[in-house]
Symmetry: C2
Subunit: 453 residues, 2 copies
């Protein structure tokens, strides 16, 4: 007899975990709705022609490929099969693969449905993605992404609204965060003025270490990456950039005076800060030049959210891109988007114990089952209670009291009702508070009243 298990890197979600996950997804969903975002879903399987070449060579290897059904050897000559070349074989024996992220399917969706969509298109999407990564702590082969994007609008108001959305989502969660901001154009401007356009990543990685290793070692690292002494000298005020966001922007404006692109980036960030200043956000915004995520993709704003009270990587991120759909033959569609990291948010809420009690509780009331007569008496009573919206169970069989109470305990049901012969003759319900142990005799109407919010 086989002992059942699931593929490595995948997970089952228990009722408790699902309640928590639904709380997370519903919170994010509600906030997206508040800003006019609408949900779409795309198939788990995409044509491999849609997916291949979009995630780099490494990404292609991490795609889960689906063997063609029927005769998978159909399009292959004997010689091709005998080569035992897995990559070449898959190119012919597999037409479909599992979604690797939500961005490429979204781009494909926009192009395929361009005539039905009214732009600007504000969409969100909450679906699992699959990656054949080596599983490790906190890294799964199946995990959910929660993406929100606005495409077809260059307005920076979209950046402002996405910041508001992140602010509101984490306010609702009760997680203290800071939102880090950067702009790809500023990074390009820096590279431009020091004449090292291709070293942007090396530079941001080195600057990021300032607090840990000190200025001397940062400069040493830059030298080891073959930056000229002149470039390093020009970088000094940028490495040491300090003060608040406004002060940083003022310094950058001077330093980047010779770079049109750089100044454009400063201007964009200024606009965003001017607009968010009009709002009473609970979240601090922090201009951080070391923020360099998605550099081969983002062309304007870059966002990242860090939790303040838990040591964990970024829990949300995003940015602006210029050309979402060019690869599918539809140029000129720019957009800006964010992605909430549901698994990390799950961990943060767990660590800080921030789940609201009512998000975890399903059944509110359980009736003990004393036998056939009592059960028959209870059916219409329970129907009335459920009609009032109270989530109610009758234990399905007249088992031992200990077993029935154990069931209520295990399910964390807060109230248990006992209706035996006496209660039936009095037309009452004996209601027990499972936390305090307190018992009281009530009518059905009184019971319903007690559960009203």
């Amino acid at each position: 007899m086989q002992k059942p298990s699931i593929p490595k890197g995948t997970r089952d979600f228990s009722p408790e975990e699902m309640a928590k996950r639904n709380y997370i997804f519903n919170t994010i969903r509600d906030v997206y709705h508040l800003y006019g975002f609408r949900q779409i879903e795309t198939p788990a399987m995409e044509n491999l022609s849609t997916l291949m070449g979009k995630y780099g060579e490494e990404g292609d290897k991490l795609l889960f490929k689906i063997l063609n059904s029927g005769d998978c050897f159909a399009g292959l000559a004997d010689a091709e099969i005998q080569e035992r070349n897995a990559v070449k074989f898959a190119a012919k024996a597999c037409e479909k693969g599992l979604r690797y992220d939500l961005t490429v399917p979204f781009a494909r969706f926009v192009v395929q449905h361009r005539n039905e969509i009214s732009f600007p298109f504000k969409r969100y999407q909450i679906q699992p993605v699959w990656r054949a990564d080596r599983p490790q702590k906190g890294r799964y082969r199946e995990f959910y992404q929660c993406d929100g994007d606005v495409v077809g609008s260059d307005s920076l108001l979209n950046e402002v609204e996405l910041i508001q959305i992140m602010d509101e989502v984490f306010r609702r969660f009760g997680i203290r965060v800071c939102i880090k901001l950067n702009n790809r154009k500023i990074l390009s401007g820096i590279a431009e003025i020091i004449g090292e356009a291709d070293k942007i990543v090396d530079i941001t990685v080195a600057i990021d270490k300032l607090d840990k290793i000190g200025l001397e070692n940062v400069n040493e690292e830059l030298r080891s990456k073959n930056l000229t002494e002149e470039a390093i000298a020009k970088l000094q005020p940028i490495i040491l950039l300090g003060g608040n966001n406004r002060e940083k922007l003022a310094t950058l404006k001077e330093l980047l005076a010779a770079s049109e692109t750089g100044l454009k980036g400063v201007e964009e960030l200024e606009f965003i800060l001017n607009r968010t200043d009009l709002l009473s956000l609970g979240t601090p915004l922090d201009l951080d030049l070391t923020l360099a995520r998605g550099l081969n993709y983002y062309t304007g704003a870059i966002f990242e959210v860090k939790a303040l009270d838990v040591q964990i990587g970024s829990i949300t991120g995003g940015g602006r891109y210029d050309n979402l759909t060019g690869v599918f033959g539809m140029p000129g569609i720019s957009g800006v988007g964010i992605s909430f990291g549901a698994d990390r948010i799950f961990d943060v809420l767990n660590q800080l114990e921030l789940y609201p009690a009512d998000s975890l509780q399903t059944t509110q009331l359980m009736f003990v089952n004393f036998g056939e007569q009592e059960e028959a008496y209870l059916l219409p009573v329970v129907a009335r209670i459920r009609e009032a919206g109270i989530r109610t169970e009758i234990y399905p069989e007249p088992g031992k009291m200990k077993k029935q109470m154990g069931y209520a305990d295990a399910k964390k049901i807060p109230y248990v009702a006992l209706v035996g012969e006496n209660e039936i003759s009095e037309q009452k319900i004996n209601l027990k508070n499972m936390v305090t142990g307190e018992q009281r005799l009530v009518t059905t109407d009184e019971l319903i009243g007690l559960f009203r919010p």
Copy 2:
């Protein structure tokens, strides 16, 4: 440049479709919760050892198999590869497959987590499944199932509650339905008394045609299936079984007097009818001996829901089974479950136009964008409106009025707000009802009040 498409038999869901689907799933979910069912999720990929052999030979062929990542030829000898035998190849080159239904993963879940589950376990699960079926109208290769099951309890109260759940779900949808009931034990009893235990399916198929082809032809069909004249004679009162549920049961009790199993089935159905009589269900229950779904699986009650006002197959079905988990080495776990057919319910709601208006509407209010000044003025105003829970957008750029209004139209936004120089100086909002065309000048507080439910 590639023209993007999706694999045949799969679908994209637009915002409108997602709103409808979410309405369906949320309604089903709410009713499950009302009865104490809790959600689980299992991975899209299962080990093929979990899936193979559970759906018959045909089912095995319909499994989507995932090519092992890395070297898929690793475990294969040259000779095996040269055979070009797709089935044998897949057995070694694919360890994982996509979920084919929710029942087998649920059985696997119960066995794997037996020590964490408190029985009776009431679980629901709403997830997609994948089948390499030939796609045709109404049949997809990716579709959602919405299953609810109670396992670890033999009590017929579970059957009663599942009937209540079906009744309540379709009441909320506003779909008039009838719930057909049968019991596998009655069918076994019939086969027993006429001495044709292995012809149950032939018999129910033939009986089902009575209305269409008449008694003579039904008997002819039975003869063609090699039933003896004696057996056919004994079947006559069953073929002609009429009257209401109680009358049918009374007749069956007599006819099945010699079959212990048959009488047990009658008794079970009687219990269910006695219990549901205590409830004021809106749905008629109809004892139907031709109901023979899942005969190789169900051992007691069999359910099926038919829409009364639309010509379509069954839109929900289920039944009781004896041995969910035996194949995974955990015998003795019985259960009863139902599965809502989300795709067909979607079609029925569409045909009858039963979607509530507020289930389809996302944004409630859109502010026209007149330019930088107005946008800056509006930001804190809109923030206050959103704080009151009103789903609000500002058009992200000061485009042509026609374009902005077109956007509101396309998104079916019911109210548009215009705030230009005059309104700003008066601290008012010009609110336009997009259906009636009526306009009125209101303060922010008045506007918020208008949207209060």
